[in-house]
Amino acid sequence: MARLKTPVGPDDHAQGPVDAPVTLVEYGDYECPHCGHAYPIVKALQQEFGNALRFVFRNFPLREMHPHAEAAAEAAEFAATHERFWEMHDAIFENQRRLSESTLVELGKRYGLDGNALRSALAGGAFAERVAHDFSGGVRSGVNGTPTFFLNGMRHDGDFEQETLAGAIRAAMHAEKSTRSGT
Protein backbone atom coordinates (compact mmCIF):
# COMPACT_ATOMS: atom_id res chain seq x y z
CA MET A 1 0.00 0.00 0.00
CA ALA A 2 1.27 3.46 -0.88
CA ARG A 3 2.68 5.56 1.94
CA LEU A 4 3.31 9.24 2.30
CA LYS A 5 7.03 9.75 1.65
CA THR A 6 7.20 13.38 2.72
CA PRO A 7 6.04 13.67 6.33
CA VAL A 8 3.79 16.52 7.37
CA GLY A 9 5.96 19.34 8.66
CA PRO A 10 6.07 23.01 9.54
CA ASP A 11 6.07 24.07 5.86
CA ASP A 12 2.70 22.42 5.28
CA HIS A 13 -0.62 24.20 5.31
CA ALA A 14 -2.50 22.53 8.14
CA GLN A 15 -5.72 23.05 10.06
CA GLY A 16 -6.30 21.35 13.41
CA PRO A 17 -4.04 20.37 16.30
CA VAL A 18 -0.52 19.07 15.66
CA ASP A 19 -1.22 16.19 18.05
CA ALA A 20 -4.58 15.23 16.55
CA PRO A 21 -4.88 11.43 16.40
CA VAL A 22 -5.65 11.56 12.69
CA THR A 23 -3.99 13.64 9.98
CA LEU A 24 -5.76 13.76 6.64
CA VAL A 25 -3.52 14.91 3.78
CA GLU A 26 -5.12 15.86 0.48
CA TYR A 27 -3.16 16.17 -2.75
CA GLY A 28 -5.43 18.36 -4.78
CA ASP A 29 -5.82 20.38 -7.95
CA TYR A 30 -7.89 23.56 -7.72
CA GLU A 31 -9.35 23.08 -11.18
CA CYS A 32 -10.23 19.41 -10.78
CA PRO A 33 -13.98 18.90 -10.46
CA HIS A 34 -13.48 15.87 -8.20
CA CYS A 35 -11.46 18.04 -5.81
CA GLY A 36 -14.26 20.58 -6.01
CA HIS A 37 -16.63 17.80 -5.01
CA ALA A 38 -14.37 16.80 -2.12
CA TYR A 39 -14.00 20.37 -0.84
CA PRO A 40 -17.30 20.57 1.13
CA ILE A 41 -16.87 16.95 2.20
CA VAL A 42 -13.57 17.77 3.89
CA LYS A 43 -15.23 20.74 5.58
CA ALA A 44 -18.00 18.47 6.87
CA LEU A 45 -15.43 15.97 8.16
CA GLN A 46 -13.61 18.76 9.98
CA GLN A 47 -16.92 19.69 11.61
CA GLU A 48 -17.67 16.12 12.50
CA PHE A 49 -14.28 15.24 13.99
CA GLY A 50 -13.27 18.62 15.40
CA ASN A 51 -9.93 18.55 17.20
CA ALA A 52 -9.47 14.87 16.48
CA LEU A 53 -8.63 15.71 12.87
CA ARG A 54 -5.79 17.67 11.35
CA PHE A 55 -6.17 18.53 7.66
CA VAL A 56 -3.26 19.27 5.33
CA PHE A 57 -3.56 20.44 1.73
CA ARG A 58 -0.77 19.88 -0.78
CA ASN A 59 -0.65 20.93 -4.43
CA PHE A 60 -0.96 18.44 -7.23
CA PRO A 61 -1.89 20.52 -10.29
CA LEU A 62 -2.57 18.45 -13.43
CA ARG A 63 -1.20 21.08 -15.75
CA GLU A 64 -1.71 19.24 -19.01
CA MET A 65 -5.38 18.81 -18.23
CA HIS A 66 -6.24 21.95 -16.31
CA PRO A 67 -4.81 25.17 -17.71
CA HIS A 68 -5.46 27.26 -14.57
CA ALA A 69 -4.49 24.71 -11.94
CA GLU A 70 -0.87 25.78 -11.64
CA ALA A 71 -1.67 29.50 -11.37
CA ALA A 72 -4.34 28.75 -8.76
CA ALA A 73 -1.88 26.69 -6.71
CA GLU A 74 0.76 29.44 -6.94
CA ALA A 75 -1.81 32.09 -5.98
CA ALA A 76 -2.74 30.13 -2.85
CA GLU A 77 0.96 29.82 -1.99
CA PHE A 78 1.35 33.57 -2.51
CA ALA A 79 -1.57 34.08 -0.11
CA ALA A 80 0.14 31.76 2.37
CA THR A 81 3.10 34.12 2.63
CA HIS A 82 0.56 36.72 3.81
CA GLU A 83 -1.11 34.31 6.26
CA ARG A 84 -4.13 33.99 3.98
CA PHE A 85 -3.69 30.46 2.63
CA TRP A 86 -6.94 28.94 3.82
CA GLU A 87 -9.06 31.93 2.85
CA MET A 88 -7.60 31.74 -0.66
CA HIS A 89 -7.83 27.94 -0.81
CA ASP A 90 -11.53 28.10 0.05
CA ALA A 91 -12.25 31.01 -2.27
CA ILE A 92 -10.55 29.30 -5.21
CA PHE A 93 -12.57 26.11 -4.75
CA GLU A 94 -15.74 28.13 -4.38
CA ASN A 95 -14.99 29.85 -7.69
CA GLN A 96 -13.54 26.82 -9.42
CA ARG A 97 -15.67 27.17 -12.52
CA ARG A 98 -14.45 30.63 -13.41
CA LEU A 99 -10.74 30.35 -12.72
CA SER A 100 -8.48 32.77 -14.54
CA GLU A 101 -5.70 35.09 -13.55
CA SER A 102 -8.15 37.95 -13.09
CA THR A 103 -10.39 35.80 -10.89
CA LEU A 104 -7.37 34.89 -8.75
CA VAL A 105 -6.40 38.54 -8.40
CA GLU A 106 -9.98 39.51 -7.58
CA LEU A 107 -10.18 36.79 -4.91
CA GLY A 108 -6.84 37.84 -3.49
CA LYS A 109 -8.02 41.42 -3.17
CA ARG A 110 -10.89 40.23 -0.98
CA TYR A 111 -8.29 39.22 1.57
CA GLY A 112 -6.19 42.32 1.24
CA LEU A 113 -3.61 40.84 -1.11
CA ASP A 114 -1.89 43.24 -3.48
CA GLY A 115 -3.12 42.47 -7.00
CA ASN A 116 0.03 43.70 -8.72
CA ALA A 117 2.27 41.71 -6.43
CA LEU A 118 0.18 38.60 -7.08
CA ARG A 119 0.29 39.16 -10.84
CA SER A 120 4.03 39.53 -10.84
CA ALA A 121 4.49 36.50 -8.58
CA LEU A 122 2.46 34.46 -11.08
CA ALA A 123 4.29 35.88 -14.09
CA GLY A 124 7.69 35.25 -12.50
CA GLY A 125 6.80 31.81 -11.19
CA ALA A 126 7.84 32.88 -7.70
CA PHE A 127 5.97 29.96 -6.13
CA ALA A 128 6.46 27.43 -8.92
CA GLU A 129 9.20 25.64 -7.02
CA ARG A 130 7.07 25.27 -3.92
CA VAL A 131 4.23 23.79 -5.99
CA ALA A 132 6.64 21.49 -7.86
CA HIS A 133 8.01 20.30 -4.52
CA ASP A 134 4.52 19.27 -3.39
CA PHE A 135 3.87 17.60 -6.75
CA SER A 136 7.06 15.62 -6.79
CA GLY A 137 6.58 14.44 -3.19
CA GLY A 138 3.08 13.37 -4.18
CA VAL A 139 4.28 11.38 -7.17
CA ARG A 140 6.81 9.56 -4.96
CA SER A 141 4.12 8.83 -2.39
CA GLY A 142 1.86 7.14 -4.91
CA VAL A 143 -0.58 9.95 -5.64
CA ASN A 144 -2.59 8.44 -8.47
CA GLY A 145 -4.99 11.18 -9.45
CA THR A 146 -6.78 14.06 -7.82
CA PRO A 147 -7.81 14.19 -5.13
CA THR A 148 -5.62 11.61 -3.40
CA PHE A 149 -6.00 11.37 0.36
CA PHE A 150 -3.62 9.94 2.95
CA LEU A 151 -4.75 9.03 6.46
CA ASN A 152 -1.94 8.95 8.99
CA GLY A 153 0.45 8.44 6.11
CA MET A 154 -1.37 5.63 4.29
CA ARG A 155 -3.04 6.23 0.93
CA HIS A 156 -6.82 6.00 1.07
CA ASP A 157 -7.84 3.83 -1.87
CA GLY A 158 -11.62 4.01 -1.48
CA ASP A 159 -13.92 6.67 -2.84
CA PHE A 160 -14.02 10.04 -1.14
CA GLU A 161 -17.67 10.40 -0.25
CA GLN A 162 -18.28 11.63 3.27
CA GLU A 163 -19.36 8.30 4.81
CA THR A 164 -16.41 6.45 3.27
CA LEU A 165 -13.86 8.96 4.49
CA ALA A 166 -15.51 9.22 7.89
CA GLY A 167 -15.31 5.44 8.24
CA ALA A 168 -11.64 5.48 7.23
CA ILE A 169 -10.93 8.28 9.70
CA ARG A 170 -12.59 6.33 12.52
CA ALA A 171 -10.54 3.26 11.61
CA ALA A 172 -7.31 5.31 11.59
CA MET A 173 -8.29 6.85 14.92
CA HIS A 174 -8.88 3.45 16.42
CA ALA A 175 -5.54 2.13 15.14
CA GLU A 176 -3.79 5.23 16.49
CA LYS A 177 -5.44 4.81 19.90
CA SER A 178 -4.15 1.24 20.13
CA THR A 179 -0.65 2.41 19.19
CA ARG A 180 -0.65 5.28 21.67
CA SER A 181 -1.88 3.14 24.56
CA GLY A 182 0.64 0.47 23.61
CA THR A 183 -1.94 -2.29 23.28
Binding site: D29, H34, G142, N144, G145, D157
Partner: protein, 155 residues
Protein backbone atom coordinates in the same frame (compact mmCIF):
# COMPACT_ATOMS: atom_id res chain seq x y z
CA UNK B 1 -5.03 -11.90 -10.65
CA UNK B 2 -2.71 -13.02 -13.44
CA UNK B 3 0.88 -14.08 -12.93
CA UNK B 4 2.83 -11.40 -14.67
CA UNK B 5 6.39 -11.82 -15.92
CA UNK B 6 8.90 -11.46 -13.11
CA UNK B 7 12.06 -9.38 -12.83
CA UNK B 8 15.05 -10.98 -14.54
CA UNK B 9 12.95 -12.19 -17.49
CA UNK B 10 13.93 -10.90 -20.93
CA UNK B 11 11.00 -8.73 -22.09
CA UNK B 12 9.29 -10.56 -24.97
CA UNK B 13 9.54 -8.50 -28.14
CA UNK B 14 6.39 -7.38 -29.93
CA UNK B 15 5.31 -5.14 -32.76
CA UNK B 16 2.05 -3.25 -32.36
CA UNK B 17 0.28 -0.35 -34.08
CA UNK B 18 1.02 2.96 -32.42
CA UNK B 19 -0.95 5.15 -34.87
CA UNK B 20 -3.28 4.15 -37.69
CA UNK B 21 -0.28 3.92 -40.06
CA UNK B 22 2.73 3.24 -37.82
CA UNK B 23 3.98 0.30 -35.86
CA UNK B 24 6.43 0.15 -32.98
CA UNK B 25 8.59 -2.77 -31.89
CA UNK B 26 9.89 -3.00 -28.36
CA UNK B 27 13.33 -3.95 -29.72
CA UNK B 28 13.59 -0.52 -31.42
CA UNK B 29 13.90 0.98 -27.97
CA UNK B 30 16.89 -1.13 -26.91
CA UNK B 31 19.49 1.14 -25.33
CA UNK B 32 17.10 3.06 -23.12
CA UNK B 33 14.82 2.08 -20.24
CA UNK B 34 11.19 1.39 -21.15
CA UNK B 35 8.14 1.68 -18.93
CA UNK B 36 5.47 -0.64 -20.28
CA UNK B 37 2.13 0.16 -18.69
CA UNK B 38 -0.80 -2.14 -19.39
CA UNK B 39 -4.12 -0.53 -18.44
CA UNK B 40 -7.71 -1.76 -18.79
CA UNK B 41 -9.23 0.78 -21.15
CA UNK B 42 -9.17 4.26 -22.65
CA UNK B 43 -11.73 6.76 -21.40
CA UNK B 44 -11.94 5.94 -17.72
CA UNK B 45 -14.15 8.69 -16.35
CA UNK B 46 -11.79 10.39 -13.90
CA UNK B 47 -9.32 13.24 -13.95
CA UNK B 48 -5.81 12.06 -13.54
CA UNK B 49 -6.44 8.49 -14.63
CA UNK B 50 -3.37 6.34 -15.01
CA UNK B 51 -2.32 7.57 -18.47
CA UNK B 52 -3.09 11.20 -17.69
CA UNK B 53 -1.00 10.92 -14.55
CA UNK B 54 2.00 9.57 -16.48
CA UNK B 55 1.54 12.40 -18.93
CA UNK B 56 1.85 14.93 -16.12
CA UNK B 57 5.04 13.39 -14.84
CA UNK B 58 6.80 12.90 -18.17
CA UNK B 59 9.59 15.25 -17.04
CA UNK B 60 10.39 12.85 -14.19
CA UNK B 61 10.53 9.89 -16.60
CA UNK B 62 12.68 11.85 -19.03
CA UNK B 63 15.31 12.34 -16.35
CA UNK B 64 15.96 8.63 -16.74
CA UNK B 65 15.77 8.83 -20.55
CA UNK B 66 12.91 6.37 -20.20
CA UNK B 67 10.33 5.76 -22.91
CA UNK B 68 6.78 5.29 -21.61
CA UNK B 69 4.42 3.03 -23.56
CA UNK B 70 0.76 2.68 -22.65
CA UNK B 71 -0.89 -0.51 -23.88
CA UNK B 72 -4.48 -1.71 -23.87
CA UNK B 73 -6.80 -3.73 -26.09
CA UNK B 74 -8.41 -0.57 -27.50
CA UNK B 75 -7.98 -0.04 -31.24
CA UNK B 76 -5.75 2.59 -32.85
CA UNK B 77 -8.54 5.04 -33.65
CA UNK B 78 -9.81 4.85 -30.10
CA UNK B 79 -6.27 5.44 -28.81
CA UNK B 80 -5.84 8.34 -31.23
CA UNK B 81 -9.01 10.04 -29.98
CA UNK B 82 -8.13 9.37 -26.34
CA UNK B 83 -4.55 10.60 -26.71
CA UNK B 84 -5.78 13.74 -28.48
CA UNK B 85 -8.41 14.44 -25.85
CA UNK B 86 -5.99 13.97 -22.94
CA UNK B 87 -3.08 15.62 -24.80
CA UNK B 88 -0.86 12.63 -24.12
CA UNK B 89 2.82 13.01 -24.97
CA UNK B 90 3.70 9.33 -25.18
CA UNK B 91 2.54 6.48 -27.42
CA UNK B 92 -0.41 4.19 -26.78
CA UNK B 93 -0.12 0.74 -28.31
CA UNK B 94 -3.13 -1.16 -29.59
CA UNK B 95 -3.05 -4.81 -28.46
CA UNK B 96 -6.16 -5.21 -30.54
CA UNK B 97 -5.64 -7.97 -33.10
CA UNK B 98 -5.26 -10.72 -32.14
CA UNK B 99 -6.87 -9.26 -29.08
CA UNK B 100 -4.64 -9.11 -26.02
CA UNK B 101 -1.92 -11.25 -27.60
CA UNK B 102 0.93 -9.22 -26.10
CA UNK B 103 -0.82 -8.93 -22.74
CA UNK B 104 -1.14 -12.73 -22.65
CA UNK B 105 2.59 -13.17 -23.23
CA UNK B 106 3.31 -10.80 -20.33
CA UNK B 107 0.75 -12.57 -18.12
CA UNK B 108 -1.33 -9.42 -18.00
CA UNK B 109 -4.56 -10.44 -19.71
CA UNK B 110 -7.86 -10.79 -17.84
CA UNK B 111 -9.47 -13.62 -19.70
CA UNK B 112 -12.88 -13.25 -18.03
CA UNK B 113 -13.14 -9.51 -18.74
CA UNK B 114 -11.38 -9.34 -22.09
CA UNK B 115 -9.15 -6.49 -20.93
CA UNK B 116 -5.61 -6.14 -19.65
CA UNK B 117 -4.56 -5.89 -16.02
CA UNK B 118 -3.07 -2.73 -14.57
CA UNK B 119 0.36 -4.27 -14.93
CA UNK B 120 3.58 -2.29 -14.97
CA UNK B 121 6.98 -3.35 -16.28
CA UNK B 122 10.25 -1.48 -16.10
CA UNK B 123 12.59 -2.83 -18.75
CA UNK B 124 16.29 -1.95 -18.74
CA UNK B 125 18.29 -0.79 -21.74
CA UNK B 126 19.33 -4.38 -22.48
CA UNK B 127 15.70 -5.47 -22.71
CA UNK B 128 15.48 -7.29 -19.36
CA UNK B 129 12.46 -6.79 -17.08
CA UNK B 130 13.84 -5.27 -13.87
CA UNK B 131 10.59 -4.57 -12.01
CA UNK B 132 6.99 -5.59 -12.49
CA UNK B 133 3.84 -4.91 -10.56
CA UNK B 134 0.20 -5.83 -10.98
CA UNK B 135 -2.29 -3.55 -9.26
CA UNK B 136 -5.88 -4.46 -8.42
CA UNK B 137 -7.76 -3.42 -11.55
CA UNK B 138 -9.78 -0.81 -9.66
CA UNK B 139 -6.70 0.84 -8.18
CA UNK B 140 -4.57 3.17 -10.24
CA UNK B 141 -1.04 2.22 -9.13
CA UNK B 142 0.40 5.71 -9.45
CA UNK B 143 4.04 6.15 -10.42
CA UNK B 144 6.03 5.78 -7.22
CA UNK B 145 6.99 2.16 -7.91
CA UNK B 146 8.06 2.97 -11.48
CA UNK B 147 10.27 5.85 -10.38
CA UNK B 148 11.90 3.77 -7.66
CA UNK B 149 12.60 1.02 -10.18
CA UNK B 150 14.08 3.51 -12.66
CA UNK B 151 16.30 4.92 -9.92
CA UNK B 152 17.66 1.48 -9.17
CA UNK B 153 18.61 0.68 -12.77
CA UNK B 154 22.37 0.67 -13.34
CA UNK B 155 23.25 3.71 -15.45
Amino acid sequence: MSHILAPGTPAPDFTLPVTPDQKLSLSELRGQPVVLAFYPADWSPVCGDQMALYNEIMPEFRRFNAEVLGISVDGVWCHAAFAHDRKLHFPLLADFEPKGAVARVYGAYREADGITERALFVIDKAGIIRWSYCSPVAVNPGADGILEALEQLPQ
